[in-house]
Amino acid sequence: MKLDSKIPSGPIEKKWDNHRFEVKLVNPANKRKFRVIVVGSGLAGASAAATLSELGYVVDCFAFQDSPRRAHSIAAQGGINAAKNYQNDGDSIYRLFYDTVKGGDFRSREANVYRLAQVSVNIIDQCVAQGVPFAREYGGTLANRSFGGAQVSRTFYARGQTGQQLLLGAYSALEKQIAKGAVRMHSRHEMLELVTVDGHARGIVTRDLTNGKIEPWAADAVILATGGYSPVFFLSTNATGCNVTATWRAYKKGAAFANPCYTQIHPTCIPVQGDHQSKLTLMSESLRNDGRIWVPKKAGDTRPPNQIPPDERDYYLERKYPSFGNLSPRDISSRAAKQVCDEGRGVGPTGQGVYLDFADAIKRLGEGVVRDRYGNLFQMYEQITGENPYQVPMRIFPAPHYTMGGLWVDYNLMSTIPGLHVLGEANFSDHGANRLGASALMQGLADGYFVIPYTIGHYLASAKQPAVTTDHPEFKRATEAVTSKINRLLSVKGKRTITSFHRELGRLLWDKCGMARNEKGLKEALARIPELRNEFWENVSVTGENEELNQALERAGRVADFLEFGELLVQDALEREESCGGHFREEYQTEDGEAVRNDEKFAHVAAWEYQGPDKAPIRHKEELEFENVHLATRSYK
C-alpha cells in the first residue's frame, strides 16, 4: 500500500485555489449519470448529500436512525469556529490554521488544516442563508464567544444547541432535495458491508432495521460519514448507537485506518454515578468561559465546597497554565484533572471529579446573565445529578468524547480504496492528536459543503469505471457474507449478554488505553481482548431473529466490531512511543507531567492496513511536513 496524500504544490494559501482549478470537472449534463452513496446523515453526510444532489448527482443517503435529523451531530453544544474576525481581535485564517495545527500537537496535515480554516468563513455564510438562528448582538450582527485553545473569540453559537441548529440546517437542505426526488433517503438502514469491484468502491450492503432485509446498493462512488468510535470505551458522551461498523468494514476491505489511538477525552462531563450507567453527559466546554475549575489543596478534604475557604482551594488550571487558564485545551485540562484526582484531591462520592464553580461569575454578572448563557446546561445538570449548579459548584470529570483517528484519506478526502471517500469524524485528517473545541462542526460541514463537491467530481471524471449493477458477483458475495455473519451471531445462543461484553471491553480500554497509557497496561489489554472476543463468539446471547426489528442483533453486530477494532486501537497506542495530544504515554513525560513528543521518530501518521483475520496488520507511515507552523513544544503556560 502506498500512501499518497496528493497535497497540491504551491504556497499554503494557494494550494486549495490551485487544486480547485486543476481538478477535473463533470459536465452539468453528465452529473445525473453518476450515482453517489452517502452513509450517514450527520453534519458531514447531510451536507454532502444535499450539496452533491444540488450539483446534479443522483444521491442515496443512508442512516440507522429513524430520521436523518437524529444523527449525533445534533448533540454538539458549544459552537462552531470560523475565522471571520468579526470581533476585530486579531483573528485570521492563518491564526485559525496555526491554532489548529498547534492544538493538534503537530500531528495533522498542514494543507488540510489550512483549507479547513479557509472554508470556515463560507460555512457561517451558508448556515445563515439557510436560516440557522445563530446568537446575535443587539445591533443584529452575529455574536461570538471564546473556546479552549484559542485567545480570540471566533466561535459562533446558537445557545447551547449549536450542533442541533447546524444539523437542522443541513437536514432542511437535505429534505429540500428529497422533496425534489434528487436524494433517495433510506432511514433505519445500517450499512454492514462495503462492496468493491476491480478495486474501486462501488456500493454497500445494508440491513433494513425494521424487517431485517439485507440489500445491496450499487453506485459510482461511496461516501462514509459515519462518525467516530468513542463508544468502544462503552461509557462515552456519544449516542448509544454510535459505532465503528461502517469504517471497520471498509478497513477490512482495504481502507487504511489512521491513528486509532488518538482519542479525545473531554474534560467537562458529569462524573460516573454507578454501574448501571449507559452513557456520560457532556457539559459544554463553553462553561469554562465563566466557570472556574478547582479542587481542595488538601488530599481527602471532604468538607462541602462552600465550607472550603478560597486559600485552601487549588485553581490548578489557572495556576499551571496562567495564559490560558480554564480555557486550556481539552487534552491538557483532562490530564490535569486526572492528576489531581490521582493525588487524592478529587471530589464527590467517588473521588473522581473536580469542581466547576460559577460563584464568581454569578457575583460578577448576576444570575440572569449566567442563566441566559448556560441555562439549558444548568438545567440538564440538575436533572441528572439532582444538584442546583447556581448554588453548589458542578462536579465534572473527563470522559471519551471524540476520536481524531479514522480512515486515512488524501487531500481529496479519498481513502486508500479508490472511490471510497470519508468525511467528518470518520476520517482522520484535520485534528491531529487533539481536536480544539468547536472545530468538529467546522470540519464536518467543511468536508460536506465545500470540499467533497469539488474532489468527488475529479474522481468521477477520471476513474472511468464501467457501469455495474447489483447483479455483479461481488454484490452477491458481500450480501452472503453479511447474511452469514448475522446467522452466526444468532446461532451462538450463549448465556452472557451483549452489554456485559461491551462493558468489559470498555472498562479494559478505559483503564489501559484511556487518559494515560503505558507499555505494560497496553500489553495486558492486547492479551485480554482476543480472549474476550473468543468468549463473545462462544457465549453471547443474541435473542430474536433477523426478519424483524431486532435491537439485540443490531447491538451485537456493533459490539463484535468493537471487539476487533479495540485491538487495533491498543496496538496503535503501543507502537506510538511518545506522548502527543490525546495520546499520553506515561513513559514519555516531563518531570511536571507534561507530554513529551518525539518528532524525530513519530512526526507521521500511522495508517494500518488489514491483512486478514488472524494476521497482524501492517503499519504504514505518512511523514508529516511542517513548512509553515514550526514544530515546537506546545505550551499554554
Binding site: E54, Q65, D66, S67, R69, R70, I74, A75, D125, Q126, V128, G131, P133, F134, R136, E137, G139, G140, L142, A158, Q161, Q164, Q165, S172, A173, E175, K176, I178, A179, K180, G181, S187, T210, A239, T240, G241, Q273, G274, H276, S278, K279, T281, Q379, M380, Q383, I384, G386, P453, K493, K495, R496, T497, I498, T499, S541, T543, E548, L549, Q551, A552
Partner: protein, 255 residues
Amino acid sequence: MKLKLKVWRQKNGDTPGKMVDYIADDVSPDMSFLEMLDVVNEGLESKGDEPIAFDHDCREGICGMCSLVIDGQAHGPLGGVTACQLHMRSFKDGDEVTIEPFRAGAFPVIKDLVVNRGALDKIVAAGGYISVNTGGAPDGNAIPVSKTEADLSMDAAACIGCGACVAACPNASAMLFVGAQISKYKHLPQGRVERHTRARNMIAEMDAQGFGGCTNHRECEAVCPKEIPVRVIAEAYREYARASVGGKPVPAAKK
C-alpha cells in the same frame, strides 16, 4: 427500589399488542428511566427472552429519538424533559408504571414501543427549509437580525421533532411541530421569501399524512420537552391566513 412495570409489547405492525407485566428490581434513584429499562432488558436477555424494543440514541434530550408514554404522559411526569432525561428519583419504591409507545394514526407501531415517525420528515420536505443551494451565500453579517427576532426564532427552532405533541393531542395533530418549523423561519428575514408556500404546503402535508387539526387543547405545550409555546401555532395559522388572502397562488411543491 422496586417497581412494577406494565409495558406495551407488540411483535409488529400486523400483530395485535398487549400490556405485559415486569418487575424492575434494584432500581437506583440515580438511574435514568432508560437505564432502568436497560437493566430490565439485560435481565430478559440473560434468560434468552427478547428485550423490550424502544427507540433511544443520544440520551441527553436532543436527538428526539426516545418516544415513550409513561403513566399516560408523553415523556413522563416531569415537564420540560425527554424520557431519556427522566431519572428514577422521580419515582418511589412500589410504584406501578405503565409504558406505552407514542400513539397516533400517523405513527404506526413497528415493534413494542418503537413507532414510525417518518410522516414528520415528509412535512419538513413540504417546505421546512429555505431554498438556497450551497455556495454564493452573502456574508453572514450582511443580513442583520434583531436579537429579539433571533431569540424568537431560536425558541421555535429548539423543537427536537420527537412527536410528543402528536402523542398528547386528542386529535393527534402535529400543529405544534408544524408551527415550530414555520415560526423558526417567520422570524428571520431569510425565511420570509418563501413564507406563503411554506405555510400552505406544510399544513397541507400535515393533513395528507393523517394528522388531525388543532382544536386548542394545549396538551402539546404541556408535554413538549423543549417547552415550545403554542404561540407558534397561532403564528403558523397567521402565516397560513396571510398566504390565503394576500399571497399569490402558488403551485404545490413538485414531487
